[in-house]
């Protein structure tokens, strides 16, 4: 008996296994297709359900020929363990010099209701970390206020809606794509919605951000 025959005979002989598999499969598809607001979370949940589905099937069927499924589960398990170990080893505070009491950013903090930290550096830096947004002086001095708003709005999107790196890495492993979820496009759209397209385009042009030409042409179209 080969792997496929084993699988089919197990499905036929078991009474509850087939309905369970069909139900979880439908829930996964539903979560992935229809919950669009938090797209990434639904994708992750459906991935988790799929993994659970595979595990249940394997345990119920006891088909030794489906070794590749066990290998898949092994990759997920080892990958997840590695991510948590690395996370605990590398989880430190930001290694940047922070300048306190910069009144220049107060109005942005009020408007977006998010703490903004200023990095003492001429380099162009804008990122979020632990519910705060970090901007460098180098970035602030090159942009007009409306352009700074566009950058902050972009980071706000990441802060509110983007998955954290751990979740993103888990999904990259469970989907076997080994590529992290990238939602720069959605963050750009969000910034455009709040501050207008020209401000974000101007900011990208002035800062010479990586792939800025591609992002500008995407925003312009």
């Amino acid at each position: 008996m080969n792997g496929l025959e084993c699988y089919i005979s197990c499905l036929i002989e078991s009474s509850l296994l087939l309905p369970i598999i069909i139900m979880i499969g439908f829930i996964s598809i539903f979560l992935f297709r229809f919950i669009k607001k938090r797209n990434f979370e639904s994708l992750l949940l459906s991935q988790t359900l799929m993994t659970a589905l595979i595990t249940i099937s394997l345990i119920a069927m006891s088909c030794t020929m489906f070794n590749w499924l066990w290998i898949y589960l092994g990759i997920i398990l080892i990958g997840s363990l590695m991510i948590f170990i690395i996370k605990n080893l590398l989880d430190k505070d930001i290694d940047e010099n922070i300048i306190n009491s910069i009144s220049f950013v107060y109005e942005f903090e009020k408007e977006f209701n998010v703490p903004i930290q200023i990095i003492d550096s001429q380099r162009i830096k804008a990122f979020h970390y632990r519910k705060r947004i970090y901007l460098s002086i180098g970035l602030l001095e090159r942009l007009e206020k409306e352009e700074i708003r566009a950058v902050i709005a972009h980071e706000i999107y990441h802060l509110k809606y983007s998955p954290n790196k751990i979740v993103s890495s888990l999904l990259a492993i469970s989907s076997l794509t080994f590529r992290r979820y990238n939602d720069e496009k959605s963050a750009d759209k969000y910034a455009v919605k709040i501050t207008g397209v020209n401000n974000l385009i101007n900011a990208l042009k002035k800062l010479h951000i990586k792939n800025y030409e591609k992002r500008i042409s995407r925003l312009s179209s």
């Binding site: 300048i99 220049f104 550096s121 001429q122 162009i124 002086i137 180098g138 001095e141 010479h208």
Partner: protein, 121 residues
């Protein structure tokens, strides 16, 4: 401070002790006293924004350049100035190199310095 492993006596001018971009920006600051980063970028227009920014951060960290934050309601910016003139930088680098030589060769370095200073007179 200048890293000893980066010193290359075969090069010319300040590039013996600094990278070409660091030397160029230092010369600019000695000449103009106070400059903003867009001013520096305007003069060094062949260098990228990232390159000028990185070089300025390195020069500040190594203590050869100072920067002061200038904040108004509309704008925020750094104002750069050299922390010392050409002679100060010369003193700093010479001291560092001599200390290293004395540490390695001891008396013979001091003899050589004596001979050079006699020649100089």
């Amino acid at each position: 401070m200048v890293k000893l492993e980066r010193i290359n006596l075969e090069k010319k001018g300040l590039t013996k002790f600094f990278s070409p971009n660091e030397g160029r920006i230092l010369e600019l600051l000695w000449k103009n006293r106070k400059m903003t980063s867009p001013d520096i970028q305007f003069v060094c227009n062949d260098l990228s924004l990232a390159c000028v920014s990185g070089t300025l951060d390195r020069l500040v960290k190594s203590g050869f350049v100072n920067r002061k934050l200038d904040e108004t309601e509309k704008r925020i910016r750094y104002i750069y100035s050299a922390s010392g003139d050409r002679n100060n930088v010369g003193n700093k680098i010479s001291t560092k190199i001599l200390e290293s030589l004395v540490d390695t060769f001891g008396e013979s370095t001091l003899d050589s310095i004596g001979k050079i200073s006699k020649k100089g007179r």
